[in-house]
Symmetry: C2
Subunit: 130 residues, 2 copies
DNA sequence: TTTGATCTACGAATTATTTCGTATATACTT
DNA sequence: AAGTATATACGAAATAATTCGTAGATCAAA
């Protein structure tokens, strides 16, 4: 859609995107309230960050009302893809397997989740065999 | 072992650790040479970074010879664990499953790798059932 | 219509990270 | 021994990311 690809979101920007992904289009106030549950952050700090994100096209905003409403302009999936690509090379020597083993090994996924993952793998295997 | 836990390595620091993990204890020269295959970096830049890492205890060094030899002082596993923990919360809403799906879905792992992952999952499932 | 709350804009301070230049010491070569 | 290459140390510049204060607009309530 855009000729220029968006930069990878920074750490703080991801925190904001996370809320937008979860709750959908939101005001600065809403986001700042949520962020403050995790960690004290000034209102104008959050505002400034979101204005920067607007410049970077990481979000869009609706200015009809006085209180602007921001929306994520990158999907969670694409952001995830970028992050994984980056850490694969730096921390995991390019091995997706190792990444997966760490993720599953250390953070207990539910039985149900494990099954879903297994199902995906079977699917991938079949695709490869054909 | 240490009373104070080591800070998370920064992006550049990870690049250095990556070499140390791969090649074992190395001189600054060696690391800088490898880094330069990816991206131009001045020698003293790498040196300085490694001195900082020494302060942070991310590496140790042997000073017997004039050319100091640095060694990683964090395992690749523990660094991986830290990174995954961080991105799980920010980008993946805490779902290890989603992280795994992305990792496997986008970067083609080999059949062999897929099998290994599957084996691990089966093992985890059995642990849970007991 | 004055007061108070809330909003945006935006410059600038602060902090974190990365990069580099220079001084100085040590080793190697001729 | 002199000259050249290669080390470390370290301050400080450059860059990136985060945080904050202040000014001015808008709205809502007394």
């Amino acid at each position: 859609m855009n000729k220029h690809s968006k930069p990878q979101p920074t750490e703080s920007e991801l925190g904001i995107l996370k809320v937008l992904w979860q709750d959908g289009p939101s005001s600065v106030r809403h986001i700042n309230d949520l962020l403050n549950k995790e960690r004290e952050t000034g209102y104008t700090t959050t505002l400034k960050l979101m204005q920067i994100m607007l410049e970077k096209k990481l979000v869009t905003r609706n200015e009809e009302k006085r209180t602007h409403i921001y929306a994520a302009n990158v999907s969670q999936e694409s952001a995830q893809k970028g992050i994984i690509a980056k850490i694969l090379n730096t921390a995991f020597s390019g091995s997706a397997k190792n990444l997966v083993l760490q993720a599953l090994g250390n953070h207990d996924a539910s039985l149900e989740e494990l099954n879903e993952v297994k199902a995906l793998i079977t699917k991938l295997e079949n695709e490869k065999k054909s």
